[in-house]
């Protein structure tokens, strides 16, 4: 797992992909930070709006970060090297997951200077909201990453992995919205409970709902497990 993590980290930072990812994330959150929090007419220390907005962008750019993790291995046959090495399948998937997650944490690290700036200017912050936001963003990102890796394991085409990743993320985002149009109660309950957005918004309001924490962690496990199953199944087919 360590070897794969190290290799993927190196691959991210020796190609433009990590830099593009970080640049887009920094730019997007930076724009909202300046417009909302540093607005001369109504500056605020409340970062919730910035975090809420960032949800939309990670939904789109995280699949770009994960698209080649599995698809390239299959296409270039380098999976033969991984799968014949004395490493478990879950070790392979976890190594890749952690690499993408660490890059994602690098992106999230931009909030450290934001918080420092706001705190030094205003001298006060609502810490529960800040922590809620950070935990929420980390969890939802982790879920998107494992979805991205899963989709990547299904195809040899990076671009297909990216597109399907975005579509799945988008569905998980919109499902809350659609739920309000569904009249049949059981279905509506299911739709609301698997939707990502309303759970995430809760975090941005500083509410640390333990079921939501468990929900996102389970999502990570489920999709990483599915990726392992895909690798396993390919050996048997």
């Amino acid at each position: 797992m360590g070897a794969i993590f190290k290799r993927e980290m190196k691959a991210y930072f020796s190609s433009p992909i990590a830099y593009i990812f970080l640049a887009v994330f920094y730019l997007y959150s930076g724009v909202y930070f300046v417009l909302i929090n540093l607005n001369p007419t109504g500056a605020t220390t409340d970062l919730s709006y910035v975090f809420t907005q960032v949800f939309t962008i990670i939904m789109i750019i995280l699949p770009l970060l994960t698209m080649r993790l599995m698809s390239d291995e299959k296409k270039l046959k380098t999976d033969q090297c991984l799968l014949t090495a004395p490493v478990s399948l879950s070790g392979i998937v976890m190594g890749k997951f952690l690499a993408a997650f660490v890059v994602y944490l690098c992106a999230m690290a931009i909030y450290i200077p934001y918080i420092i700036v706001l705190y030094s200017e205003a001298g006060y912050m609502i810490w529960s909201t800040v922590i809620g936001n950070i935990v929420g963003l980390a969890l939802v990102g982790a879920a998107f990453i494992s979805i991205g890796i899963f989709v990547s394991s299904l195809t040899e085409l990076q671009i297909a992995a990216a597109i399907f990743g975005v579509i799945i993320n988008f569905v998980l985002f919109m499902i809350d919205v659609f739920a309000s149009y569904v009249s049949w109660a059981p279905l509506r309950t299911v739709m609301i409970s698997i939707g990502f957005y309303s759970r995430y918004v809760e975090f941005t309001q500083g509410i640390l709902n333990i079921t939501s924490v468990i929900f996102f962690i389970s999502a990570v496990f489920v999709f990483n497990f599915l990726t392992v199953r895909v690798l396993e199944k390919r050996r048997w087919s």
Binding site: K6, L76, D79, T84, R234, R235
Partner: protein, 364 residues
């Protein structure tokens, strides 16, 4: 030691490998031979745990690859048909990655250096793999298999894409490795297998067609059956004289190879050695023997015989019979094989050509 028991692999309805069993002993170099699509790579992929078998068992040094894949894989170094290289890495980064991946315990720097020296890639150590030539890539793949000093080496067509000098180097390397490691080597190039392996398993259409030592396999069908001599002198008379030698069954001379000299193809009874007698008779008449050699059946012939199944029974007749040969050639799927046979049969030029295709260079 590798034990393969009743291995079967289905791809949908197609049986890629059908109930094959063989054993490779410690320190043995086993040649795995078969035409393209015979099931060589499938078998190797199963042995290394890359894919699973539909049925059957693989034991690597007594460990079942399905029961304890991690332990079994530790014993194996695998070079797949297409070397699994990360093109964006340098050779150094790649081999270090493999070292970590295999969780090696041997001192890192010295071990990687040794492996690089062994396959001669020290001069490209800091270059990005993407920019290397095919020969170098192949050798980096070889290095990857050797990292961690695995007891068993499984090499799927290791000399593809190398130049004749490199092929020789790799062959010598494999021979040297074979003293300490158990090696399975696949190829559709017969001379390669013949040059390196102690034992040969011939696989065709997913079943084992032959499993024997190289010597036995060649011995089963050899015994010199034909001599070719290039003699300068009057053609008709020479044929008459040769035909008079005891043991000669048939003499033909078709083409004038050099001014005044023909190649005489002399078929003899099995076991008759006519060379001395031929030489004496020619000398006594002042005809000059420019060349003389015996044509043993090569692995190509054996291979064709075996993979053609019932057409020619192993060890019973010679394939030099023109009709049988043509019939065989019609059935050969690979054009290369056809070229090889044509080469042996027809002319020296074609021979050289076929051997070039063999990537052999005729050095053995």
């Amino acid at each position: 030691m590798i034990e393969v028991k009743n291995l079967t692999k289905h791809y949908g309805a197609k049986k890629a490998v059908n109930d094959i069993s063989f054993t490779v002993n410690d320190g043995e170099i086993l040649g795995f031979l078969g035409p393209n699509g015979a099931g060589k790579s499938t078998t190797m992929n199963i042995l290394t745990g890359y894919i699973s078998s539909t049925d059957g068992q693989v034991l690597i040094n007594g460990i079942d690859i399905l029961d304890d894949p991690t332990a079994a894989k530790k014993e194996i170094g695998y070079l797949p048909e297409l070397p699994p290289l990360y093109l964006d890495m340098t050779v150094k980064e790649y081999l270090n990655f493999i070292y970590d991946l295999k969780k090696c315990k041997i001192p890192r720097k010295a071990h990687i250096e040794d492996v690089c020296k062994l396959v001669k890639i020290t001069d490209v150590y800091n270059r990005v793999i993407k920019n290397l030539s095919k020969g170098y890539k192949q050798r980096v793949g070889m290095a990857q298999a050797l990292i961690g000093n695995p007891k068993i080496l499984i090499l799927d067509e290791p000399t593809v894409g190398l130049d004749p000098k490199q092929i020789l180097d790799i062959r010598n390397l494999i021979k040297r490795l074979g003293k300490k490691h158990t090696v399975i080597l696949s190829s559709h190039i017969l001379s390669e297998i013949q040059a390196v392996c102690d034992r040969i398993v011939i696989i065709n259409n997913g079943v084992i067609a032959a499993d024997d030592t190289t010597e036995n396999l060649t011995g089963r069908v050899t015994g010199v059956l034909r001599y070719t001599a290039r003699i300068e002198g009057p053609r008709e008379e020479i044929i008459k004289v040769i035909a008079g030698i005891n043991g000669v069954e048939n003499v033909t001379a078709e083409m004038e190879r050099e001014p005044g000299a023909y190649d005489y193809e002399i078929e003899v009874k099995e076991g008759s050695d006519i060379r001395r007698e031929l030489f004496k008779r020619m000398v006594s008449r002042n005809w000059v023997v420019l060349e003389m050699h015996s044509d043993k059946l090569t692995l190509e012939d054996i291979f064709l015989k075996i993979t053609m199944g019932d057409e020619v029974k192993l060890g019973s007749t010679s394939v030099s019979d023109e009709d049988t040969r043509r019939e065989l050639m019609d059935k050969v799927s690979g054009a290369v094989l056809a070229a090889e046979i044509a080469g042996q049969d027809k002319s020296e030029d074609a021979d050289a050509q076929a051997e070039a295709e063999n990537e052999n260079g005729g050095e053995e």
